[in-house]
Every structure is written in structure tokens, then in C-alpha cells.
């Protein structure tokens, strides 16, 4: 029996495992992504869109899966697992780049002098203990003087001189100074940005303005609003706010439109602000209508009459 024809037919149904493209597909197995850079074939695209898209997608997936099978694998309870390489595609970052931090005073100085930063080891070798200890911090070497059992006392020391306390005070003073310098650095950075920092301190550039403003306020805060106050020597005259008016030669069209907007604003004002009888502006003169309908007896009579009729109807 010759099965070659059947086999050939079966083989023809299967599509090629290898994908051939004019421009090779770009694979990023780390992100499980395939990019097809080939230009769209206009003819088949217009002819049958769905088929075209399916075939393009199929090619891409085929290439990706082929690449996945070539990856190194590790076996697990669920079967072999492929080890994905790290993603190769460069994605843009979501957030903007961080702004450079303002330099501290020391950093500025070091840059000017060309001093390079030297990384120092945090640990030092302790000969006595025969081990590495921290320079500072937990069991730090800088606390040795405070805990040693015998201390040399200077000849001119007071009677109540406590060497361990003095050493501790010196250490704490260093810490306090460092903190002080840190805060000053922060304040300097804030001032460079021109905003008052969290301690309420205003940068010098604004402070002068604020003082001038306060001074101007106090000068007109007397009973005579500053008119009859004794002036100090060298005190300048206060400058008020200058009024600003439109130019006299604005175009008539512009003026007309602005006037009409003012007029429309006036119309929109609440009824309470207007004169009591503003009904005259509407098309229907309510008062006149009521008089005509009620025969000059007023709206109350009209309402009573209407109510009475309604009651009669109910009964």
C-alpha cells in the first residue's frame, strides 16, 4: 500500500515550523514579546483583513515558541520550566529622572578643591579583642573611653572630674554639631529654591520684602492713618497703589461688547437686589392680568373662588 500520497497531503496541512521573513522578527523572550518590522502587504491586507492578521500573529507566536524551546530548562513537579533571560527591550521610565540633589557645604568645598571622596571601612581591627569592631554605633570603638576601667586624668582636672562622662559629652557634642550642620545644609538648599522651610524661616531675599511690607502697614495703622505722625529722618514717602484705567481710545466695538456684558450681568442679579416691582420687564404684566381676570378684586379673591369651585366639584 502506498501511503506516500496521504502523508504528503497531511504534511501539506502543517505549516512550516521555521518562520521566514524578509526582515527577521525581533524577539524578546524575557518579555515574551515579538516585534514584526515587516511592512504590511497591502494586497492581502485589503483582501481579507482577518486572515492576514491571523497569519501574521501565527508567524510571530511560532517564532516565539521556537525560541522558548531553545532556552535552558529546569525540571519541576509540573514538568520542565524554561529559564527566561532578562528583558532586552528598553522601556521608557514612567517617572521623570530625579533632580540632582543640592550640594552640601562640604561637597561644594571638596569639588572646588578637587578632593576625591574616599570610602573608609566601617570596621577597625581591635588588637585586644582580636576581632573586627564597628568604628561607631553598636559596640562602637568610639565608646571605648567611656567604658574602660582605668582612665588617665589630666593634672589640672577638677576634683569631681568624671572622665567617662566627659568622653561621652564630647561624643554627644560631635553628634549635635553634625546634626546642626545637616540642618543648615537643608536650609541652604531650601533658600536656593526660594521657599520658606518647615521651621518657618524665610530666605533672605523675601525677608527684606516682608519687612518693607510690615513697615508700610504699621505706618498707616495709627489713628490718623499715618497723616499726622512724626516722620523719622530719611523716611521715604509711602507709595500707594496706582489706579489703572482703560485707554480713552479703545475701539467702540470692544467697548460696546463689554458694556453689553455688564448689562446682562445686571439683569441676572437676584430679584431681592432689584427694585420690588421688576415684573414690568417681563412680557406678561401679572398685576394687570390678575386685575382683568378677578374684575379688580385682587388675587386673593381669585384664589378663594378657584378653591371654592374645586371643593364643590369634590362633593
Amino acid at each position: 500500500m502506498d501511503v506516500s500520497a496521504i502523508l504528503a497531503a497531511h504534511e501539506a496541512k502543517k505549516q512550516a515550523v521555521t518562520v521566514e521573513k524578509e526582515i527577521p522578527l525581533e524577539l524578546d523572550t524575557g518579555l515574551l514579546a515579538v516585534t514584526d518590522l515587516n511592512p504590511i502587504d497591502c494586497e492581502s491586507y485589503n483582501e481579507n483583513l482577518e486572515d492576514y492578521l491571523t497569519s501574521t500573529a501565527r508567524d510571530g507566536v511560532q517564532a516565539l515558541i521556537a525560541a522558548l524551546f531553545s532556552l535552558p530548562t529546569s525540571s519541576s513537579a509540573d514538568g520542565p520550566l524554561a529559564q527566561l533571560p532578562p528583558p532586552a527591550t528598553q522601556l521608557p521610565r514612567a517617572k521623570p529622572l530625579p533632580k540632582p540633589k543640592p550640594l552640601t557645604k562640604w561637597e561644594k568645598f571638596a569639588r572646588a578643591k578637587g578632593i576625591q571622596k574616599k570610602r573608609k571601612d566601617k570596621k577597625v581591627w581591635d588588637e585586644e579583642k582580636q576581632e573586627w569592631v564597628n568604628k561607631w554605633g553598636w559596640k562602637g570603638a568610639n565608646k571605648d573611653k567611656e567604658v574602660q576601667w582605668l582612665t588617665e586624668v589630666p593634672a589640672n582636672a577638677d576634683v569631681d572630674f568624671n572622665p567617662s562622662q566627659a568622653a561621652r559629652a564630647e561624643r554627644k557634642e560631635k553628634m549635635a554639631k553634625n546634626e546642626r550642620k545637616h540642618l543648615q545644609n537643608l536650609a541652604r538648599a531650601q533658600a536656593a529654591q526660594g521657599t520658606p522651610n518647615e521651621s518657618g524661616k524665610v530666605p533672605q531675599s523675601q525677608r527684606k520684602q516682608l519687612i518693607d511690607y510690615t513697615l508700610a502697614t504699621t505706618r498707616v495703622s495709627t489713628a490718623s492713618m499715618g497723616k499726622f505722625d512724626r516722620t523719622l529722618e530719611g523716611e521715604k514717602k509711602l507709595k500707594g497703589v496706582k489706579r489703572k484705567f482703560d485707554a480713552a481710545e479703545v475701539s467702540a466695538e470692544k467697548e460696546k461688547s463689554s458694556n453689553l456684558t455688564i448689562l446682562s450681568k445686571l439683569d441676572r442679579e437676584p430679584a431681592a437686589k432689584k427694585s420690588k416691582n421688576s415684573s414690568g420687564d417681563s412680557v406678561l404684566n401679572v398685576r394687570k392680568a390678575v386685575r382683568a381676570v378677578s374684575g379688580g378684586r385682587g388675587s386673593a379673591t381669585l384664589a378663594r373662588k378657584a378653591g371654592g369651585k374645586g371643593n364643590k366639584g369634590k362633593r
Binding site: 484705567f245 482703560d246 467702540a252 458694556n259 455688564i262 448689562l263 445686571l266 427694585s275 414690568g280 420687564d281
Partner: protein, 180 residues
């Protein structure tokens, strides 16, 4: 001379609207020639754009008057209509009152309008409404504010005041120095 600020325009327009209501639009949006409001030495002038442009070249101390003087701003910022605005008010007035010939002279001497002198009045004039006063042969004499609504005037006695005097053409003689 300068255009009115927005606040000033508002004050002037509310005052004018008291007399001519919605017809105020016809003053601002004129078909014949663009007109505008200008303030000069506390006085508000209603002037055509062409003559306003001519007046720009006149120095402030030398400029006495231009266009039609509508009124003036008092020192406290209120706006007072002058009799010179009567032409426009009479033309567009919403509520009018006509007085009998025997009441013309008392009104022109600055007195209020009494009920005895009342000839005709626009129907349904509300209380405290700005009205223009006419003589019986339709000559505008001045303007004022109603003391009572039209309905209420019926019950009043003849000596009761029905329109408070605000301005009359007699001022052209009486206040000649200060009017313009």
C-alpha cells in the same frame, strides 16, 4: 477723559435702567453711529465715537464738555442724573406721567408733582419707579420718582405728592453755572 470702569458702568446703568429699563440697550448698541460713555471730571458724558476721538486731543484742563452730559458722580460714589440727559430718557422712557398746564410751572420751579396736577399716567406704574414728566402736549419737562403706584394714587387726596421731583428743565436757568 477716560472710559468708565466696570463698577462705574454698573452704577450708571442701574440708574438709567430705573428710567428706561431694557431700552438701555438702544443707547449702547446704536444703529446709526457708535456711541460711548466717557468720564471727565466726575461727569459722565454720552458721546459719539467720532467726537470722542476729536476730544482726545484736547488737554484735560481745557476740555469743558463733550457730547451729552448724563450726570455726575458724587464724592461718595453715587451717580446723579442731570436734566441734560432728559432728551434720551424721554425718548426711551418706560413709564411716563403727563401734568396739566396749571402744574407745569410749580414743577419747573423744582416742586414735587401733586395729584391735583396729574393729567395722565402710564398704567401700572409701580412705586418708587423712575418716570419722565411730560406736559399735556408731550413736551418733556423733567423726571422724578413715583411716590405711589398707579393703583394707590386713586385713593389719595389732591394735595398728596405722587412724583418726587428729581430734575426739571428749569435747571437750565437755575443751575446754569454748575450744570455742565
Amino acid at each position: 477723559m477716560r472710559p468708565l470702569t466696570e463698577d462705574e458702568s454698573k452704577i450708571v446703568f442701574t440708574k438709567l435702567a430705573n428710567y428706561i429699563g431694557k431700552n438701555l440697550v438702544h443707547l449702547i448698541d446704536r444703529a446709526d453711529e457708535p456711541y460711548c460713555f466717557r468720564l471727565h471730571k466726575d461727569r459722565v458724558f454720552y458721546v459719539s465715537e467720532s467726537s470722542m476721538r476729536l476730544a482726545i486731543s484736547v488737554a484735560r484742563p481745557n476740555l469743558v464738555s463733550l457730547g451729552t452730559c448724563f450726570g455726575k458722580f458724587t464724592k461718595s460714589g453715587k451717580f446723579k442724573l442731570h436734566v441734560t440727559a432728559l432728551d434720551y430718557l424721554a425718548q426711551y422712557a418706560k413709564y411716563k406721567i403727563w401734568i396739566k398746564p396749571n402744574g407745569e410751572m410749580p414743577f419747573l420751579y423744582g416742586n414735587h408733582v401733586l395729584k391735583a396736577h396729574l393729567g395722565r399716567i402710564t398704567e401700572d406704574t409701580p412705586e418708587h419707579q423712575g418716570v419722565v414728566v411730560f406736559s399735556m402736549n408731550d413736551v418733556p419737562l423733567g423726571f422724578g420718582v413715583t411716590a405711589r403706584s398707579t393703583v394707590d394714587t386713586r385713593k389719595l387726596d389732591p394735595t398728596a405728592i405722587i412724583v418726587f421731583h428729581q430734575s426739571d428743565v428749569g435747571e437750565y436757568l437755575r443751575d446754569e453755572e454748575t450744570l455742565f
